[in-house]
């Protein structure tokens, strides 16, 4: 059986230059879990999501090793780490998108504002309505811009034109798309440019008034200018929404996020304020990664 380990604040004590090596590589070698180095600042934060000892397997392959973290309310939290480290898997576990893959098994639980996510009694559809998600590739639906934005209202059966109009305008304004598309809301959303499509997808997520938003590498399919706009947008949403974001791009994490979690081969290695993670990380492995020595 796996040895269950919880967050160990004590790890914060390990700050000596000499033994800063946290032993992640050892844990990987032993196929064992790793105690996360959690920075103090996080203890003052109010959690919108709590992940407790979460394990996940794709068939026989284990992808997450006893991950525990809190997603602070109304803050932007970035998940960084090399490819295949489980960032996206963790993100997609929050709104149970991994349920769609039949081989996935999990252990442990997550809590969204006090409600268990993986409790057998949880209604997945209701749960997903409380969580907004934006994907790596813009995925507007094959319908008009307006219908895209109000999709989550439509599936709830909202028919009041006034409400739909209002939500549509507010959401589009929130992502700065209103001025660009207000005169062609009936056009197909597929005719927008890639960057506009991605902002539309964010607007679609916002329209559902989510308690938390998940962004899965929202800029990786976009050109630099569109990327800049999305990052600015994330900045604007900061403080209003709780955001959990996966990114490949370290600059993006450092520019756009309040907190950064570093993952490596299925383990959450270190989690703290972005500034600390990038400037004075507790662990040598984190430092090596953020300075580009490996990954």
């Amino acid at each position: 059986m796996l040895q269950q380990k919880t967050i160990q604040p004590e790890i914060d004590m390990i700050t000596h230059q000499e033994d800063r090596l946290g032993g992640v590589f050892d844990a990987v070698k032993r196929d064992d879990t790793f105690p996360t180095a959690v920075h103090d600042a996080l203890h003052q934060e109010d959690a919108v999501i709590e992940v407790n000892d979460f394990d996940l397997w794709y068939g026989a392959k284990r992808a997450l090793y006893s991950v525990s973290l809190v997603v602070p309310r109304r803050k932007v939290t970035a998940l960084i780490g090399p490819s295949g480290c489980g960032k996206s898997t963790l993100l997609r576990s929050v709104n149970r998108m991994n349920d769609l893959i039949s081989t996935v098994r999990i252990k442990g639980d997550m809590v969204l504002n006090g409600d268990s996510i993986y409790d057998p009694g949880t209604d997945v559809i209701e749960l997903r309505k409380r969580i907004g998600m934006v994907f790596q590739k813009p995925n507007p639906f094959p319908m008009s811009i307006r219908e895209n934005v109000v999709y989550s209202l439509r599936i709830d059966g909202v028919r009041d034109r006034g409400v739909l109009e209002e939500v549509c305008e507010q959401s589009l304004r929130a992502v700065g798309l209103w001025d660009e598309v207000h005169d062609r809301l009936e056009d197909s959303a597929l005719r927008l440019s890639g960057g506009q499509q991605q902002r539309l997808c964010i607007a679609r997520a916002i329209a559902g008034e989510p308690e938390v938003m998940l962004l899965d590498e929202p800029c990786s399919a976009l050109d630099p200018i569109a990327t800049q706009r999305i990052e600015d947008l994330i900045h604007e949403l900061q403080g209003r929404y709780s955001i959990l974001m996966v990114t490949h791009n370290m600059q993006q994490a450092s520019r756009a996020s309040d907190y950064t979690a570093f993952m490596y081969l299925g383990r959450l290695v270190e989690f703290g304020p972005t500034e600390e993670i990038f400037l004075k990380p507790h662990l040598k492995e984190t430092e090596d990664y953020v300075t580009g020595r490996f990954g």
């Binding site: 998108m97 769609l100 997903r128 995925n139 094959p142 319908m143 989550s152 197909s188 679609r204």
Partner: protein
């Protein structure tokens, strides 16, 4: 070493493959172009008025007719000796042209066509007053206008005067004939049938000689009596009209000098082909097309129109599409979206694909056995016991509904396959996006998958229409008939008659080409009908293509 390199580089460049693939395409295009050319050339020229030729042989026999085809052949020496004076004989074994003339006048000659060899002919010319008379019965009559009789007395003797009389009176006589035909009221028969069925029902329910039966019998007798009275009144009226029509006769002189009186009312159309201007030729041509497209057939389908067949084809195809698309889409949705992908689903998929390769006549046999004899007879026993007792099945025989269902079954695999392909081509990211918004599986299918797959589903429908509209073999078993003047939709209650037999263009072509007692005369109609069928299939497809293009535009970027 170097030679080996050269060989491989030739294939690497792919020159031979370009030629091979190009040639294959050219062969395909040539075949399609050839087929269309033959059908359209023959089909479009059928109704064009041809000149009338009068021919005299060396033996002094005269013929009058329209040339319908010619060919080169080697006449038997004996036959040549028979026709031609010795000095004019061709060299033995020489190839000679012979022409086939449509000489009509079937009741006189007992044939519609005559072959004449060039060597047989002493004289030929196009008589200025040659007349072509298309009749209600017996086919065409060729001759010269000889006289015009009113009440059996000649009122005109000169061809020009006769023709003027004919043109003056023909239209009103035809109109009167049509009016008399419309007086025949089908409602009378319907009422009588209903009353009789009531009586049969009473017999089945309460036994013969019961009070109910006697009551129904009384009603029937009174209905019959009233119907009979009305029929007599109608007959009196139509007889008066007919008597008026019978006063007018066109006397036509045949090439051999004999005359024949033709009742004006029986003449559909007459014209003087050798005097027609180009505009008048177009007039005859278009009027024949009009008749072809809008009238009922006559003369064992070889003349007149094909309107019931056009109507039957289109209605059957539409009913088939309405039946097959929802069924196919639902089945494909289950296979692709709900069923757990595994061996069983693979087997089902292979079975469905193989169903597309089953010969269509097999579906016809199934349709006859299942729809007509099982479902249909069941419906009849349940709903129309009186008709069963009278041995006139309603649903328990071939009908347009059963034909449509059979074809729906036949085209189902096409729709399922196309839909499956379209559904699986919907990007996974779109479904994920929908699920992430909190949509259920069905909401995702209805709002994302189906709209996005709609153009692909339309493709399946187009293929189904193309296959279904042209299918003939199964229809012969489940409801297509040679002649069905009662359309499956008309003004008599309940307006839609899914149980009725119907005419179908494909079956009509088969019937004209192989079942006609006068197949030579029907041959041009085979091409014209084929052209029409191709045209209708193309038209139905164009509509579907247009719808698909509209759907696609909705989802296309840029």
């Amino acid at each position: 070493m170097s030679s080996r390199r050269r060989v491989s580089s030739l294939f690497a460049r792919g020159e031979p493959m370009v030629w091979l693939t190009g040639a294959a395409l050219v062969v395909c295009l040539l075949m399609i172009a050839g087929l269309l050319t033959i059908v359209i050339y023959n089909g479009a020229s059928t109704f064009w008025p041809k000149p009338l030729t009068q021919l005299t042989t060396h033996h002094g026999k005269t013929y009058l007719g329209e040339e319908s085809q010619n060919e080169d052949y080697n006449p038997a020496t004996a036959a040549v000796a028979d026709w031609v004076p010795a000095k004019k004989r061709p060299a033995p074994e020489a190839s000679v042209r012979r022409r086939m003339y449509r000489t009509g006048n079937y009741e006189v000659f007992n044939t519609h066509f005559t072959w004449l060899s060039d060597y047989e002919i002493a004289e030929e010319f196009e008589p200025r007053w040659g007349i072509v008379v298309e009749r209600q019965e017996w086919g065409r009559f060729y001759g010269k206008p000889h006289a015009f009789h009113v009440d059996g007395k000649p009122v005109a003797n000169e061809p020009a005067a006769v023709w003027a009389r004919f043109e003056e009176l023909h239209e009103s006589v035809r109109a009167r004939r049509e009016a008399a035909g419309e007086l025949n009221d089908n409602d009378l028969n319907d009422h009588e049938n209903d009353a009789r069925l009531e009586r049969t029902s009473a017999r089945l329910k309460d036994g013969a000689d019961s009070d109910e039966w006697r009551e129904a019998d009384k009603v029937l007798q009174s209905v019959r009596k009233r119907a009979e009275e009305e029929r007599i009144a109608i007959r009196r009226k139509t007889q008066a009209m007919q008597a008026e029509n019978d006063r007018y006769e066109l006397i036509v002189m045949m090439a051999d000098g004999e005359t024949k009186a033709l009742k004006l009312a029986d003449i559909v159309r007459a014209y003087l082909p050798n005097q027609l201007s180009l505009g008048e030729k177009w007039g005859v041509y278009l009027s024949r097309w009009g008749e072809f497209l809008s009238d009922n057939p006559r003369e064992a389908n070889s003349e007149g129109g094909v309107f019931p067949a056009i109507f039957g084809t289109i209605i059957m195809t539409l009913i088939m599409s309405i039946l097959v698309v929802p069924f196919g889409v639902l089945a494909a949705l289950y296979l692709r979206e709900y069923a757990k992908q595994g061996t069983l689903v693979s087997i089902v998929r292979i079975a469905v694909n193989n169903l597309a390769g089953v010969p269509s006549i097999v579906f016809g046999v199934f349709g006859l056995g299942f729809f007509c004899y099982f479902v249909g007879v069941g419906i009849d026993d349940l709903l129309f016991p009186a008709r069963v007792a009278e041995n006139t099945p309603t649903f328990g025989k071939g009908g347009i509904l059963w034909a449509s269902l059979t074809l729906a079954l036949l085209t189902l695999p096409v729709v399922i396959m196309a839909t499956e392909e379209a559904i699986s081509a919907v990007p996974h990211s779109m479904r994920e996006g929908s699920y992430a918004c909190g949509a259920s599986k069905w909401q995702t299918i209805r709002k994302i998958v189906l709209p996005r797959a709609a153009p692909g589903i339309m493709t399946g429908m187009i293929l189904a229409i193309a296959r279904g509209a042209g299918e003939v073999a199964p229809l012969m078993l489940v409801g297509a008939v040679k002649l069905a003047p009662d359309l499956p939709m008309d003004g008599s209650f309940p307006f839609v008659h899914p149980e009725r037999s119907f005419m179908h263009l494909g079956f009509h072509i088969y019937d004209l080409g192989f079942q006609s007692p006068n197949s030579k005369a029907a041959e041009p109609m085979v091409f014209t009908t084929t052209m029409l069928l191709i045209g209708i299939v193309v038209l139905l497809n164009l509509v579907a293509l247009w719808v698909r293009a509209r759907l696609r535009r909705q989802f296309e970027a840029g």
